[in-house]
Structure formats: structure tokens, C-alpha cells
Amino acid sequence: MSPRAAWRLESIGFGRVYDYVNGKADWGSFGLPLEGRRPSSTRVGAHVRTDVPACRPADRMPDMCERVHAAGWDTCFVTNEQGVVLGRLGRAALAAGDDVAVDEAMTLGPSTVRPSQELDAALERMHKQNLTTLAVTRSDGVLVGVLRRDDAERVLRTSTTGTP
């Protein structure tokens, strides 16, 4: 739609016309502020935990298990050098304790959500898919952090009842 609008503007005499082709979906996915009647506090981006552990495919599982548990987490995302999510180590993989590379133990293609998505929609998806956490990524696939189901439930409970 925006390319047509850009051409239209040029045709009616505007000299310097630019087209932000990726639009507000891209803007929101980078956690940048939006204005309007849907406040940012109702979106996933406002409730992301950014301290979730991340590792590389070539890392060794025993080292990662130790690091993840020491940080108080039970999940870890596997990313490439650009921070793009490649996979995930869940509870089972971290508990197995196999002396293999992360690449051999990770689950491929974990579910992801954008920071701009509404929190209630993300929570509904977590319930349907029986997920306790959901990776939050930008539109280019880079990991932002994680949304925890208990965080989302608490926030939405507070917003509807006024009590945590």
C-alpha cells in the first residue's frame, strides 16, 4: 500500500518522497514507541525479560547446563553471531546432561512472538501450545528476550482486578 501512496504523492507534486516499506510492524518489533489508543503497556515488549541465557550451536552442553542453572533459568536460546534465534534448549535437554554440542541437543524452530504483539493474544497462544515461555524476537529474527507465562498472567490479572 505505501508504494502506491508514495507514487501518488510524487504525481501530485511532492519532490522528496520516501517509503518506509517495512512499516509500523517493523517499528514495533524493535520495541520502538508507538502512539495511539492501544498503550504500549498492553504489549509483549513491555514485559520481556532480557536476561534469559543464550548460547551458540558449538557450545558444549555440560557447560551450558551449568551456566543456565547458575543463572536461575530452565531454558536457553541458541543464536548465531547476529543474535538470530536458531533453536532452544528446554528443561529436558538441560536435564539430560549429555556431553554433546548444543547443536545436537537443541530443539529447532522455537515459537516466537514480536514485542509489538498484544499481551493477551500472546498469553492465549501460550495456553494453547502449553508453553511456559515464549521467545521474543524482532522482525529480523534477532532475540530480544523471553516472555514468561506467569509474568503475563500476573500483569493481565492485575490489569483486570487491580490485584497481583
Binding site: R4, Y18, K24
Partner: protein, 68 residues
Amino acid sequence: MPTPIDRDELQRLVREEHAQLVEVLPPDEYDDEHLPGATNVPLKTLDRETTQPLDRNRPVIVYCYDTQ
């Protein structure tokens, strides 16, 4: 010819050249959420009259929801 830009270039144009942001989606989608400082001129109404408030001496950046 309109120039496609990314997020970084948008921010630079707004910051350094006072570019004007125009969302071309319908009003209800604009009311829900829009980029800071953007005005709304839906594509279906985009003509000389509705763009009258825009400054023709400054860059104009149009956008919609995504690449659709």
C-alpha cells in the same frame, strides 16, 4: 521516484531533515497505533486537498503496516 528506506534512515530523516511521517492506512488503524508524530492520510483519500497541510519543502515518509 520514491526512495525505499529502512528504520534507521527514517529516524535520521526525521531527526536531521524534519521529515514528515504519513500513515496511509484507514483511520481506525491509525487511531490504534502509529509512529510518533505521524499524521494520517488514508491512501483512498490521498489527493491535493488532503495533503494540503503537508509542507512540500520537507521530505515526506509514507508507511503502512508492513510490506503488504
